[in-house]
């Protein structure tokens, strides 16, 4: 399934061209109000754009202003929102069975399909509950199962983890990684980790326009838009797991927290942490931090009230007084330290 979209929504000043190849997941990143969700609404058929055209595989979703328009239920586009929005009057099982049931499958067969999908997202034991008896994370798992059970040709995800408790996000991300692997999907997010771990391709939107797009690695490595630069500032260490830490080919070892389940030894993984959580020292720090690296200042970049210290592989954000106090200039030898609890490790 591949999607080609070109649309203009005058009321919200959004104009976008978007292509999603078969089996690809595209992440739309951007600040609030940049029109990300509008794009999903247009594709799902909730919002009718003034003009534009969308083709999913060989079916035309719409060709406006006046050629054609397909209603949402005939599009085969599943939508997963920030809120799970499980139907409160139906059991979990019947929520998931709703899609198959609506397409004419018998009640028994629909429930059988629903059970399969609930198991797929590790929510099989919740089948008989009412939605009101679920936690936020459980409800969102069920919502994923419900969206998948309808067998959408294209899956649209609108910040699916924004409303979740921070502690369940890593596990949910793993579930999404699994289900999105071979699917054609568009995910709207403001979290760079989602883009990094779930998407092949990234589109950055600002003020209703696409300002940057390309393969995820390229966009995050060499961002050209201001939003891209802001989110791309995260420290990433790619490598393999060795004694629960990530060892990069360059010899850097980063210890951190694993998600729900430990990433197994020898598996490709990525360690992610914010430059703001990194501390800078002239002498090797003693005490608790598990991650300490000796390195050399390569560059100092002012960023508002902060100064970003680039050292090649890693960067750190400190305040200007700290730079003065430590007398940092390019070439200064320093130690970077970060607590393992500030580092997230994911299978990559």
């Amino acid at each position: 399934m591949s999607l080609h979209l070109s649309a203009r929504v005058d009321e919200r000043d959004v104009e976008i061209d978007l292509d999603v190849a078969d089996g690809q997941t595209v992440a739309i990143l951007g600040p609030n109000g940049s029109g990300k969700s509008t794009v999903l609404s247009v594709v799902a058929g909730i919002l009718r754009p003034g003009r534009g055209r969308a083709v999913l595989d060989d079916t035309t979703l719409f060709d406006l202003p006046d050629r054609s328009w397909t209603a949402p239920h005939e599009r085969g586009t599943g939508l997963l929102a920030q809120d799970p929005l499980l139907f409160p009057h139906l059991s979990v099982l019947d929520n998931v069975a709703f899609g198959p049931r609506s397409s004419g499958t018998s009640r028994t067969a629909s429930r059988r399909i629903a059970r399969t999908w609930l198991d797929e997202v590790d929510a099989g034991q919740l089948a008989d509950r009412k939605p009101s008896a679920l936690s936020g994370g459980q409800a969102q798992r069920v919502a994923i199962a419900r969206a998948l059970a309808a067998e959408p040709r294209l899956l649209l995800l609108d910040e699916p983890m924004a409303a979740l408790d921070i502690t369940v996000v890593p596990a949910m991300r793993q579930v999404l990684r699994r289900v999105l692997a071979d699917r054609t999907a568009v995910i709207v997010t403001h979290d760079v980790l989602d883009a990094l771990l779930l998407a092949d391709h990234v589109v950055v939107m600002e003020h209703g326009r696409v300002v940057e797009q390309g393969p995820t690695k390229d966009v995050l490595a060499r961002p050209r838009s201001s939003f891209g630069a802001g989110i791309a500032g995260l420290n990433l260490a790619r490598g393999t797991i060795e004694e629960r830490a990530v060892r990069t080919p360059g010899g850097l070892v980063v210890a951190g927290l694993h998600g729900d389940e430990d990433v197994p030894e020898g598996v490709a993984a990525v360690a992610v942490f914010s430059p703001g959580a990194v501390s800078v020292h002239r002498e090797r720090p003693t005490g608790s931090p598990r991650n300490v690296w000796a390195t050399t200042v390569r560059e100092l970049e002012p960023r508002g009230s902060q100064v970003r210290i680039q050292t090649g592989a890693l960067s750190a954000d400190v305040t200007a007084p700290v730079v003065a106090e430590l007398d940092l200039v390019p070439g200064t030898e320093i130690f970077l330290a970060i607590k393992a609890s500030e580092v997230a490790i994911y299978a990559a």
């Binding site: 586009t77 929102a81 397409s103």
Partner: protein, 263 residues
């Protein structure tokens, strides 16, 4: 004592408030004191009383059914779509709420009566509506339809469209969404609206007597019977009035029950 939040209501306000409450409760008490309890049962089960009571229940149920059949689609169109003249239509639908019922009755007479707007068409079909039980049902539906439409439209708006949108992205056609999502979700509001409509239909007097007349067993509903008995047999009028008060109390209980479950 249990904990209470500071109310900020001036103390003197309680006086007019109490007077108002008394103003509503006192007449009901007065009515109850006039009931001849010894004859109560025989008064409300006399032939004419029973005929009126059964006619009232029958016509009010029919009117409530018509309100649901016509009112649910109206509420859906008003709450979920937008078109030119929609706000005007919404105001017009409310009209029977504020119109004197006797005016409604005259309007109905000039619509469905023999010389009315649709009179000839109805004549051709071999039907005679005015001064029949059908007329009672039409009059009751006319005055109670706004209750159902207004309360259901409010419920639909509060419920929002989010679940309906999700259902449609799961592949459900509009009729399936209506049947499996929208209606079950607004059921408490629909039930409350139907109960209110039933109560209004049961108490209907002005439009009925104007449009349907007062023929025992055919168009003489309970309120009409009470009005007529008031002269000839005041004890029967009082007893039947009490029956209507009891029904009204039950209706309020029902509405509050469904309302609180919805909330």
């Amino acid at each position: 004592m249990s904990t209470a939040r500071y109310s900020g209501v001036p103390r003197w306000v309680h006086l007019p408030a109490a007077a108002g409450a008394l103003f509503i409760v006192l007449p009901l008490v007065a009515l109850a004191t006039r009931v001849e309890w010894g004859e109560f049962w025989s008064l409300i089960t006399s032939d004419s009383s029973r005929a009126a009571l059964l006619l009232s229940l029958r016509t009010s149920s029919m009117a409530t059914l018509l309100c649901v059949v016509l009112g649910v689609p109206m509420a859906l169109v008003l709450a979920r779509t937008s078109f030119r003249g929609q706000s005007l239509l919404r105001s017009l639908v409310l009209l029977p709420l504020v119109l004197p019922p006797v005016v409604g009755g005259i309007a109905l007479l000039y619509t469905f009566g023999r010389k009315g707007l649709l009179g000839e068409t109805i004549d051709v079909l071999g039907l005679q509506i005015a001064f029949s039980t059908t007329a009672v049902v039409i009059a009751q539906t006319f005055v109670s339809l706004p209750f159902l439409v207004v309360s259901l439209e409010g419920t639909l708006r509060t419920a929002g469209q989010r679940y309906e949108i999700v259902a449609s992205t799961l592949g459900a056609p509009p009729t399936t969404v209506l049947r499996r999502i929208t209606l079950p979700l607004v059921l408490p509001g629909l039930a409350a609206g139907a109960v209110l409509s039933f109560a209004r239909a049961l108490g209907e007097f002005g439009a009925t007597i104007t449009f349907a007349g007062s023929l025992e067993g055919v168009t003489r509903t309970l309120p009409l019977e009470i009005y007529l008995q008031r002269e000839s047999n005041p004890d029967a009028a009082v007893a039947l009035s009490l029956v209507l008060v009891v029904v009204a109390v039950l209706v309020i209980g029902l509405v509050r029950g469904t309302g609180s479950r919805a909330g």
